[in-house]
Subunit: 341 residues, 2 copies
Amino acid sequence: MTERTDGATIRDVAEKAGVSKSLVSLVLRGDPHVSDERRRAVYRAMADLGYRPNHAARALSSSRSGIVGVLLNDLRNPWFAELLDGLTTTLHAAGLTPVLSESVTVRRAGGDAVQSLTGLGVDGLVVVGATPDAAALTEASALFPVVLAGARQPRLPGGDVAVDDDLTGARMATEHLIGLGHRRIAHLRGPGEEGALRLQGYRRAMLAAGLDPDRYAEAGGMSEDSGYASTRRLLTREDAPTAIFAFNDISAVGALSAAADAGINVPDGLSLVGYDDTYLARIRHISLSSVDNGNYAVGVQAGRLLIARLDDPSRDARVVEVATTLHVRGSTAPPRRAPLP
Amino acid sequence: MTERTDGATIRDVAEKAGVSKSLVSLVLRGDPHVSDERRRAVYRAMADLGYRPNHAARALSSSRSGIVGVLLNDLRNPWFAELLDGLTTTLHAAGLTPVLSESVTVRRAGGDAVQSLTGLGVDGLVVVGATPDAAALTEASALFPVVLAGARQPRLPGGDVAVDDDLTGARMATEHLIGLGHRRIAHLRGPGEEGALRLQGYRRAMLAAGLDPDRYAEAGGMSEDSGYASTRRLLTREDAPTAIFAFNDISAVGALSAAADAGINVPDGLSLVGYDDTYLARIRHISLSSVDNGNYAVGVQAGRLLIARLDDPSRDARVVEVATTLHVRGSTAPPRRAPLP
């Protein structure tokens, strides 16, 4: 799936960017002393010319640093902890050292996490979850292999992906609620391709059970606040749902609070399923049924994909999907019968 | 406060370690290609001789990498997010790039997070919170400045520390409960010097109010599980407490679950105060009164201490204490009157 123009050379890139060949080499090595302006000019020229450095040569050369950058999005959402465990274990077993950077914090400080990691001379990069750094990652993928873990965007030329099977996970969550006897099941939609796949899994399960998949599908799957607000809205409807399947655990926790504030007991008055099976779901006081996306295995697969790509840079890009399971906890139960008049 | 023997040279270290001078130089530069065995021999020799490399020379030389290592303990406890924000902002403003590593995950994978960061050629290291890497940090502090943020151990020669004022924070939490009318107030003790200081703050407030500070002080402040188990024990006592001040938010969340399982409503039947003011405390469904340890400011101070030390390696070691505040939420209320017979 890799687009490349084998003809372009460092000389072409230097000419197009209006810089010296040695400056291009510095950029390729991720030297931190190159100005942002000149670095970006080189990146642009590389992109325009379809230039990609020869990862194979790098893999064979002694210039390998043994360092793998790991880009996290937001440390406040704890879903990635297991993934990082699997990834670190796999990289370490191959003699590679992971170092982390976090997009949100670095960005707030006016920095660029991808550039920070590039500047370390990493051999490759693993992007964990959604990222605001799509453009920078596209640039970086010209310098070294970039593997996505737990997310499917941005699409990178030649980029490998390790994810969970979102469609099946969402279908399992919805079927669990249907199996308990629920008919009015809402879904709090999330963003991106994961959001689209989970919506699709929800829709398939609803349709297969003869239920309307559009009646209760609404946004609100991203944060505690959005989960709270959407659930408030849903619960004021005449035909309020008796169950909610949320895009992730954080939004499900928001739904939990909205139910409490509306005087509705979970699970008696409302069943809730989250996604990610984070430690939030396991906190006794929350005890949330949640889809376990096999994040440890996703991390292992991402590590393996990177190692394989370092060994053979010309192999085809792959998407590895890890199986999901459902952990049933205290937040789901059969729907309460309508109170007697 | 720095102990040093100015006489020892690289030559002395090499001789004592039984290696070449150039190998010592490689170790001092954090070269990752040195075997663990030889690296440790060099560290041991440096420690025995009291040898410390001249940070000042390094600060002035062009060998500065501009990279600062940040050592996190466990990404699963989210208390450090604000601290990291303040730290990253401060470092970035000074042209320094933070890169992260996490002890627990790396250790589980058989690695050594301190050594990983050292291998990057960092200019300095900020240790966030408690760490299992005390020995490695003592070694590393011979190579570059190490600043502790949000923790007071391990004591490092010449090491700066930025922390919150644990004693005052704990006193405020306890006084809040006393002010609400509670007399039977338990404390779930935590480990380390922070644990000792928070216990002391609790004791002082209890004594000042004429209350017995030993009656309800028990361990259980470290994890959700330990908070749960201790609270279960406390609540079965004849003289069960009406309020609990926990070492941290995680253990307070465990206490919350124990109360729910015992059929006791928070705050009507039991008031709870946590510590760290994490986002867990802010989750509506948990809504935990908690001591805000000013972690953003702690991060800023840690960054400033490191920057100042890079500029002037011979300055005296400092401990900066940041003021704490108390955020009162839904988990604290006056004690319920005894039910009528």
